[in-house]
Symmetry: C2
Subunit: 142 residues, 2 copies
């Protein structure tokens, strides 16, 4: 589902990243989105931010303690920090992002004493397909 | 103006942080906001995020290269990263935030090789008043 969101984002001219927020307690999809940075002229409209905001609104709480996030790319520092704020339970991501990632690269958001909540992190899921989408997108544009 | 936004936020029951985005080229205020996390049930609705989003919409671009941000508290990692994305020119902040800040504490967002843009940073501006607002707010609630 996250890959489908990423593909749909690419078709809209957005960086192809897709995210799905799942309510682990009810085993239900709460929100799914692709990047909407261009469409909204909103530099913060990453797929992860959109599903976090939709999920908090749907559950009427800023604490998504029983929710898991699936995303096609390692989250950037902004999204990684937001996922910590909402106390996401598990983070599953596809492709690693050595240049822009904030989980296992760069500022490694969850690796600091001041981080109040670190989710369980599972990276490299269906990494090849997730990464191919991005490579193709940027190849066409450069 | 940022302090006034923070005070107004406190009156609404929000963590008292206020931010103002200034277009340095036109010498005009683009956006001002206080936290709206509670009002919007949106954990990402920090004052900084709100003015960034409003500014990008107002200027119809995700690049705020000639804009400066004034905020009463050291930005958290989420906001610090967002400020880097929009290539904010200068960041002026009031109180330091050793527990939650992401600029001079914790993940120090701008101090990594993978950070594409680091603003000029000026901290400790009117720090006492900015910090007193927060202390008072949390004292009343604990």
């Amino acid at each position: 589902m996250a890959l489908a969101e990423a593909r749909a984002a690419a078709e809209r001219g957005e960086v192809p990243v897709g995210a799905v927020l799942v309510d682990g307690a009810r085993r239900a999809v709460l929100a799914a989105a692709g990047n909407e940075v261009e469409a909204r002229t909103d530099p913060t409209a990453h797929a992860e931010m959109l599903v976090i905001r939709a999920g908090a609104e749907a559950l009427a709480t800023p604490r998504l303690t029983e929710c898991d996030l699936y995303v096609t790319l390692e989250p950037c520092p902004m999204c990684a920090a937001a996922l910590s704020f909402v106390r996401i339970r598990r983070l599953y991501y596809g492709a690693s992002d050595p240049k822009g990632g904030g989980v296992e690269h760069g500022p490694r958001i969850y690796d600091h004493e001041t981080c109040h909540h670190a989710p369980e992190v599972y990276g490299g899921i269906d990494e090849e397909r997730a990464g191919a989408l991005l490579k193709e997108f940027f190849k066409e544009r450069r």
